[in-house]
């Protein structure tokens, strides 16, 4: 595990990434729902190949942060820099094309399509042919489709799912659906991948396998990964930097060891120690 070092833009990224621009940087990001301040002063810097974790008690606003980053909600204030691009004014699909892919807490697959087709939807923009080419079935169409299918199968092999290519996505077991969603997100060729509770509903063996695969994905594709997760074994095991969110605000940032011993974090999760109530 590499050490975290400060970068010029007031954040911490792994040592190996110091010479690169951070892949994601948020500055004073926030959103209000009516009078409710759901997320406020959210500042985060993620290095080029960092695996970062976003944790916090239920209702802390973690998924809201993901929705802000991917523009499912438009932020009320603040800036999101994706590489050197400012994403203000972009919509979800533009943010995705700019290099941010995500999975969802409640799985959103195209259930009636096959596993391979789901991945091929992710590959949409890397297949080059145009509509008339497709309608006239010109050679470019056959070539494009064949390459896309091969690439989809290739990507599915990360999770050893290449044999499931022809199965309907809705018919897959829960864990496999989560894995497929990750592959589909990866297919969009992102520079940062947001995983919303990737281990939810998985058994310990599957979780351990997932941990290995997340690191493998980072190493293979040289991308950054930001994940929301409640499984502390996973978070503490693979994340290089962790941010803790409570009531929409970051209460602590640092390496897993720093977070484990942080009193504010322990309070947020477990409450104050007896006798400290009125301290």
């Amino acid at each position: 595990m590499s050490n975290l070092v400060p970068v010029p833009s007031r954040g911490m990224v792994p040592e190996r990434d110091v010479k690169d621009r951070p892949v994601l940087e948020t500055i004073h990001l926030g959103i209000d729902f009516g009078g409710l301040v759901a997320v406020d002063e959210f500042n985060l810097v993620i290095g080029k190949t960092e695996i970062a974790g976003l944790i916090g008690p239920n209702g802390a606003g973690k998924t809201t942060v993901f929705n802000l980053l991917t523009k499912v909600y438009q932020p009320s204030r603040g800036t999101i820099l994706l590489g050197d691009k400012d994403t203000s004014g972009m919509n979800t699909s533009q943010v995705c094309r700019a290099g941010m892919a995500r999975t969802f807490q409640n799985i959103r697959l195209f259930r009636d399509m096959t596993v391979a087709e789901n991945v091929m939807v992710g590959l949409h923009h890397s297949i080059a042919y145009h509509t008339p080419t497709a309608i006239l079935r010109l050679p470019a169409y056959w070539r494009g489709e064949r390459n896309a299918r091969e690439k989809a199968m290739d990507m599915l092999s990360i999770f050893n799912m290449q044999d499931l290519g022809g199965v309907k996505a809705g018919a897959l077991p829960y864990g496999a659906q989560r894995r497929l969603e990750i592959v589909r997100a990866l297919a969009t060729n992102p520079s940062i991948l947001l995983l919303d509770e990737p281990a939810a509903g998985m058994n310990p063996t599957e979780t351990a396998e997932l941990m290995e695969n997340i690191v493998k994905i980072r190493d293979t594709y040289q991308i950054a990964i930001l994940l929301i997760e409640h499984d502390m074994k996973l978070v503490m095991g693979i994340c290089e930097g962790i941010a803790v969110l409570n009531y929409g605000k970051i209460i602590a940032k640092g390496t897993p060891d720093e977070i484990k011993s942080n009193t504010a974090v322990i309070e947020a999760y477990l409450g104050k120690k007896e006798g400290q109530e009125n301290a």
């Binding site: 991917t70 499912v72 919509n91 979800t92 699909s93 995705c96 094309r97 892919a101 995500r102 969802f104 959103r108 697959l109 195209f110 259930r111 009636d112 399509m113 087709e117 091929m120 939807v121 992710g122 949409h124 923009h125 297949i127 042919y129 509509t131 497709a134 309608i135 006239l136 079935r137 169409y141 056959w142 494009g144 489709e145 896309a148 589909r184 997100a185 297919a187 969009t188």
Partner: protein
């Protein structure tokens, strides 16, 4: 799945379909030309063809795109009137030679208006398209009913109905259009753009998160759908020879929608079969015309109770699969391929 199946190469399948269809088209033209089929039956067959195109075009918008347009008759009217006006006023060539252009003009006109309506309506999420197209269909009908000249040119004749349109629709051009509609919609759906369209239907947020612009694909699909409705309208104008606005009312839109729902949303084969049955059935039941609507609604109720996804669900087949099945070498892959019917 049959274990000892052998796959027909995909491109070979296209060839088989084309050959089979050409045989059907030429054979049909020959049979009808020889006078073996009565005038009345020919008319019913032509109407089947037109309704097949209408059902297929609406199926693109409802079944594949997941939208609910309620003004499809409006697009048909646009296609019918623009083609009819073209055919009546341009006489540089015999009407038979001009008809392909008439059809194209009808389609393009409908596509253009569909595009204009689609842009604002499809940017919104939810059922706004249904309301907007519902309004649009009525606007078209009322406008056609009340204007009889455009900028001083006597073009549409309002309620008095547009007469003396060259009757150029025949078996050959109708079913050629059916084939082209099938082919274009099928190849569109089975491409990366079609996958994007289905992704938008299945889960808009996930599609957006995969980098797919939902507005773009909805507008594109809707425009193509309007185009083919215009083509059907142009054929209808050449079939009837007389156009009156009242034939493009709300009920016509609903009729097309019922055809699509009955056949199965997302099934091209279903649309073809259901359009054929629902066109032929009223003619067969003409003797019991008082009970016709009862039979019709009963059929719908029964289908919706026992098979809510429509007769064919989203199942599709192609002619080459049928051939393959007879030879005992049908392939699972090919069952999924739509292809050309009728």
């Amino acid at each position: 799945m049959n274990k000892n199946t052998r796959k027909i190469p995909v491109r070979f399948g296209y060839l088989i379909n084309t050959a089979l269809f050409a045989a059907l088209l030429l054979g049909g033209t020959k049979v009808i030309g020889s006078g073996a089929v009565s005038m009345y039956h020919t008319k019913v067959i032509l109407l089947c063809g037109i309704n097949i195109i209408l059902a297929l075009s609406l199926n693109l918008a409802t079944g594949f795109l997941g939208q609910l347009p309620l003004g499809h008759a409006g697009f048909m009217a646009l296609g019918a009137y623009s083609s009819a006006i073209f055919m009546r006023n341009v006489t540089i060539l015999p009407p038979e030679a001009l008809f392909p252009f008439g059809i194209l003009i009808g389609g393009l006109m409908a596509a253009f208006i569909g595009f204009l309506i689609g842009i604002p309506a499809l940017r919104l999420k939810g059922d706004y398209l249904a309301i907007i197209t519902l309004g649009f269909g009525e606007i078209i009908r009322v406008v056609l009913l009340n204007i009889d000249d455009v900028l001083g040119f006597k073009l549409t004749y309002g309620a008095a109905s547009l007469k003396n349109i060259p009757k150029t629709t025949n078996f050959f051009n109708t079913f050629l259009c059916v084939a082209i509609t099938c082919f274009v919609i099928y190849t569109y759906i089975k491409s990366r753009h079609g996958r994007a369209t289905l992704a938008v239907r299945d889960n808009e947020i996930a599609a957006e998160a995969c980098g797919i612009s939902t507005t773009y694909y909805k507008t594109l699909g809707f425009t193509v759908s309007a185009f083919f409705a215009g083509v059907a309208g142009a054929l209808y104008a050449g079939y009837l020879g007389v156009l009156s606005p009242s034939s493009f009312g709300f009920m016509k839109s609903i009729e097309i929608l019922v055809t699509v729902v009955l056949g199965g949303m997302g099934s091209m084969a279903g649309s073809v079969i259901s359009a054929t049955v629902l066109t032929a059935l009223p003619e067969v039941l003409r003797a019991f015309s008082e009970y016709r609507m009862i039979a019709y609604s009963l059929l719908l109720v029964i289908v919706m109770i026992f098979k809510p996804t429509g007769l064919m669900g989203n199942y599709d087949f192609s002619l080459s699969t049928l051939i393959g099945r007879f030879n005992g070498n049908a392939s699972k892959k090919f069952e999924k391929e739509g292809g050309k019917h009728e």
